[in-house]
Every structure is written in C-alpha cells, then in structure tokens.
Point group: C2
Chain length 148, copies 2
DNA sequence: ATTATTAAAGATAATTTTGTCCTTAATTTT
DNA sequence: AAAATTAAGGACAAAATTATCTTTAATAAT
C-alpha cells in the first residue's frame, strides 16, 4: 500500500513512541534494528519526521542523545506521519489513478471505493500515535523485527 | 495505492471491456490514448494481461486486429487484473509492511485495518470486469482521458 | 505474392526509489 | 580543553519502475 519509506516512517514513529520519553531517548541504531530497516535509510526518514515542517519526532545530538517524541506530538493522529512522507494521496486518490477522486468526477470504481476510502482515512485521522503505539492489540516485544 | 502499471492495467482492461467485442477490436494506439497512458508502456502491460498465464484480454495481429475481451473473461473479477500485475499483495498485506498480516501475528494497526482490508478485497473479488466497465455510475465518454 | 497494418518481443534509456558512505555539527563526558 | 558519542547533511550507488525505440512476427487486403 505504502512505499518502503512510509512503512519505515510509521514503524519508526510507533517504535519511538513506545520505547522512548524525554528521559530515555533511542538511537538511530536501535530504531533501525527494532523496526528492521537499513540504518542510514532510517536516519534519512527520521530527518524528515523531525524537520521544522513535520516536527513529529524530536532529537538531540551527542552522547545520551537520540530520538524521542513529545506528549504533544504523540497525541496527534498517525495521519501526520503519512502526510509528512507525502503519501497521503495514496489514501485519498482514485483507485484507477485518475485525478480528482470525488463524487463530481467519479470513475467506475468510485462508488464502491468511496466508503472504504472514508474508513481508511478515518483509521489514520482518528487514531493517535500514542494510541496506536501502546495499543493492547499487540505488545510483543520483538514486534517490529519479526523474521522476514 | 497501486503502481502506475497496475493503474494502467485496470484502466486498459475496463476500456477494452467497454469499447470492444470479438467483432470490434481496439488498437494499442486507441487504448493508450483512451486511458491516458504512454503507448509503448501500454503495449507491455497488454502483453502481461494477454499472456498464457493471465488470459484476461485477447489479441489478434494484422490489419483490423487489436484487443478484445471474451465474454468468459469479462465475467471474472477485476481482482485478476491486480493479480496478473503481481500487486494483490498491496491489498492483502500489512499496512506497516510487516510480513504475515493475519490475526495470529497482528501489528498495532491490524485490528483497525482488518475490516477495511476485507472490504477492499471484496471490492476487487466480487465485482466483475464487465460489471465495472459498464457500470451506470460513470459512462462519460471521455472518462479515461480527463485532463490531468 | 506483395504490401500494409497490427501486436509481440527485445534492447535501451530516463526517472524514481531505496540504500550506503563519509564528513560535519552538536553535545556530553572526561 | 580534549575526547567520545550522537544526529545532520551531502554525495554517491544500486535497484526498481516507468518510458521509449527498433526489429520481428502475424495477419489481412490488394
Ligand atoms: S474517482 Fe476513482 S475511486 Fe474515486
Ligand atoms: S499485520 Fe499489520 S495490518 Fe495486519
């Protein structure tokens, strides 16, 4: 559904929200291993998630530095992660790839897709980062690095 | 959601199902223009859709040749198009990109996604090519080449 | 048979995505 | 102040996707 980048971004955000706080930061190394993603690629993605526009995760350089997420940010919907990666279109656009997916210019899948699209959007817009990260639905410790 | 290839494949299949019959075939040229896709790239995709494994669309070379779809094929679900392009995983796999999206090994999005996934799959597995192509929901003639 | 038309097939190129590496800057510890 | 640790940033490389071009094969019309 999403690109690798966005998948890693979601996993990294959830990982950070689970493992860290302002007092206990996590390193790129740890995050990359925890989510099963290449280290340097993960670093790039974390930059996107922490830059001025996104401000989803926070970071501090130097020893005992690393990444963490503020209470404030963790209350935001996971949608912002997808948005920061520029992939919100994946959820919002036409199944057939036509421009303007809306009731005024429907494609022949639109009527079937409309409801699903709404639910998909809802899933990302209504659930907060914190809620997803600490959901009781799955708390296996080795969660993100299941063997592929 | 899908790759360009799969989007083109879906549009092309729907286009052919609308415009053609065994008596009135359509050329690559016409299809490509009709769906707003690059001609030679469309040709490649049509090859995939017509090869021995897929057999979704049929073709005949030579003058007055072109593509068409059999009654039999048009009764199959549009899912087979997505499958022929090797992108059924898009619908079937984990939102976070983890392996084995199922109730036994859920990720923290799984519970929310489960129902949506089922509907998405249903949309592709329950609707036939013919049904989608000739749906009353959208019969605008210039449908596939809306200006982008 | 020859010519024209159309898809099939293969080679190549451009672009985007994914992944790696190396240097710099920031910050803490010693 | 110096050394160590960590993220930031930029350059580069590999792989995958998308797109184009050229030649070949099939078929029909002349
Ligand atoms: S216009 Fe195609 S899904 Fe909405
Ligand atoms: S396991 Fe992640 S959506 Fe099913």
């Amino acid at each position: 559904m999403f690109s690798k980048s966005t998948e890693y971004a979601l996993r990294a955000t959830i990982y950070i929200a689970r493992q860290s706080s302002i007092h206990k930061k996590v390193s790129i190394q740890e995050i990359a291993e925890g989510i099963g993603a290449p280290k340097h690629f993960t670093a790039k993605i974390l930059q996107q998630l922490s830059n001025k526009n996104a401000q989803i995760v926070s970071s501090i350089s130097g020893p005992s530095g690393g990444f963490y997420i503020t209470e404030e940010a963790s209350k935001k919907p996971i949608y912002i992660v997808v948005e920061a990666m520029g992939e919100n279109t994946v959820i919002e656009s036409c199944v057939l790839g036509l421009p303007n997916c809306n009731d005024a210019t429907p494609c022949s899948m639109h009527k079937s897709y409309k409801g699903i699209k709404k639910e998909l959007l809802g899933m990302f817009k209504n659930r907060t980062i914190n809620e997803v990260a600490n959901s009781k639905d799955c708390l296996t410790p080795v969660y993100f690095n299941r063997n592929k």
